[in-house]
């Protein structure tokens, strides 16, 4: 199989993507050299602290970044369509059908002055402007049913403020799915919800994604969310992907010290009576990013080279990569604090 054919098969193909924001304090490098891909029917979780560039990455894929952002990429293709040079008009024709997005806060991501049914109908009509009125209504009711909104005809005429947070996020999902997108990007879709509702929405997201055969990028700061829903997981830190692999590899065989820290700080790992583990220090500012490995100053296992030169992604297995000098053959062996016997 040639490289081109391989690439066309990928639902999402991002190569060396960087996003830089102009700010009064200087350029902020929010996303640095990120490469990832996604196969149809797959869920990729992107895990990281707030401010690590997860949202900027999502918006760069949707081309929804503000005008102050500069995007550079070697490859940026959705379902084989290179979207790098596309105009806003062309992007409008693709958004919704090729890719759509679910946002963090269902309280603010619906128009408060518009009835739920009308908002979903608007998304249905976005790519089929000539659709008949009753056909639109049927499609909206079908979508509402699909995302688990009970009694759709009664809910059709309600306003967002009449619904609970979970119901609103279901409505947002219905809007995102209205034009049958092939790629769904979910930016912290469960963060603003109650824990009990979080699980329901995650399961719903996975069921629908499997049912439609769509691919999904699930952005979260919650490792448990990634473990529950994702096939593969990428860990982001300071704008870079520091480790990427199948979810099993990330949770059972983590290789990057930052991933160790994240796993060690899970509440389920804390021994009774002991305080929760926290990674020391704070994420660095990205304007400009620190020299070498951005995680070095918080890293107990940092080597001298970490302060000088950023590590490349070392291959651990055909699906597993980690960016740490510890994987270099010359590095000293380090006893891993987590992993191996870990069951999350």
């Amino acid at each position: 199989m040639t490289a081109d054919a391989d690439r066309a098969e990928k639902l999402l193909d991002v190569g060396r993507l960087s996003v830089t924001f102009a700010s009064p304090a200087g350029a902020v490098e929010a996303v640095r050299d990120v490469s990832l891909d996604l196969a149809p029917g797959e869920i990729l979780a992107i895990v990281g602290e707030s401010g690590c560039g997860k949202s900027a990455l999502c918006r760069a894929i949707m081309k929804l970044l503000p005008a102050s952002a500069r995007v550079q990429a070697d490859r940026l293709a959705v379902a084989g369509t290179d979207i790098r040079g596309l105009s806003e008009r062309d992007m409008c024709a693709l958004r919704g059908r090729l890719c759509s997005m679910v946002f963090q806060d269902p309280m603010t991501s619906l128009d408060p002055t518009m009835r739920i049914g009308a908002q979903i109908a608007e998304a249905v009509l976005a790519h089929e402007p000539g659709m008949k009125k009753d056909a639109v209504r049927r499609r909206v009711l079908e979508l509402m049913d699909m995302v688990g909104i009970e009694d759709p005809p009664a809910r059709y005429r309600l306003y967002p403020h009449d619904l609970s947070g979970g119901m609103r996020q279901r409505a947002v999902l219905a809007i995102a799915l209205a034009s049958r997108p092939r790629l769904l990007i979910a930016d912290e879709p469960t963060t603003a919800l109650d824990v009990t509702v979080q699980g329901q929405i995650l399961d719903l997201l996975r069921d629908i994604q499997r049912g439609l055969g769509a691919g999904a990028v699930l952005v979260t700061h919650d490792l448990a969310v990634a473990a529950r829903a994702a096939d593969r997981t990428a860990v982001m830190y300071a704008g870079r992907i520091v480790e990427i692999g199948t979810t099993e590899e990330i949770f059972y065989d983590p290789r990057h010290p930052y991933t160790w820290g994240l796993l060690a700080s899970l509440p389920s790992l804390a021994a009774e009576g002991r305080p929760l583990y926290a990674i020391p220090g704070m994420p660095p500012t990205l304007s400009p990013p620190p020299k070498g490995d951005a995680f070095a100053c918080r890293n107990r296992y940092a080597l001298a080279i970490d302060y000088d030169q950023a590590p490349p992604l070392f291959q651990v297995s055909p699906t597993h990569y980690a960016a740490t000098w510890l994987l270099d053959p010359r590095a000293p062996a380090v006893a891993r604090p987590v992993g191996g016997e870990l069951h999350v």
């Binding site: 991501s109 002055t113 306003y159």
Partner: protein, 327 residues
Amino acid sequence: MKLARRLCSLLLSLLVLSAAVFWIARLAPGDPLVSYYGQRAERMTPEQRAREEARLGLDAPIHVQYVRWLRNALHGDLGVSFKYKRDVVDVIRGRVSNTLLLGGVGFALIFSMALGLGLLCARFEGRPLDKILCKLGTLSSCIPEFWLSLLLILIFSVYLRVLPSSGAWSVDGGGAADRLRHLILPMTVVVTGHLWYYAYMIRNRLLEEVRADYVLLARSTGLGRRRVLLRHCLRNALPSYLSIMAISVPHIMGGTYVVETVFSYPGIGTLCYESARYQDYDLLMVLCLLSGAVVIVCNMLAQAINEHIDPRVRAAAAERAEADGHG
């Protein structure tokens, strides 16, 4: 029920306003007899003055005068203008249509043009068109109204001789076209004085909405920027714009007063100024109550429109009503 409650609060507000204006007008320095008798008042003997004051009912303590005025007003007698020696209602009736024409059409122009400009600027935020409009707008709102009026009179009436410099119609009368010609200059001043203030307000209000999350969701489904601006952002910004419109009615009315004076335009503005200046008490009372009623009714209107458009306000009102019903 709701209407009755609003009507009650309107009447109560007007009552308080009438008392306040009544007292302040009479405590302010000045001689109402000058307004009635002109120069003759200055040559009157103290006895004559006392007699005339008694005749006009100005000798009693203020609260007695107020009760007398209130009783007459409730019977439909709003008094006589000292200056014009005519029933105040007649005096105002002759002027009100002029002000309604200048202020009303000016108001409609200001807000429709401001909305258009605001949308245009918001749509092209940060681009050259927006920047140029913002600069021009700031400049236009800095020009004092009286100065612009005089400049326009100088250019169009004195040098070019194409437009009349004052009044509302020619002496010989010329129909609608004539009235329109008289309106152009004062209208230009009224509109330039206020336009940018409201255009900038709606621009910024729209840009606040453009940053909202629901815009990202709508755009991620494939809706274009212009469509989201018109269908979602405008809808969300409109309630506050309407309230601003309603609240600005007296502001724009006040602006027309200055313009009316400069252009000697026979409207309520010039009348209001005269009545306050010359202690024409009964006329002042009616004009103040009229302005007060306009302000209050406009605010109520804004509230009603708000409730109709913004379902959150409607829901809050319904909850309040329910709580009242249980309480």
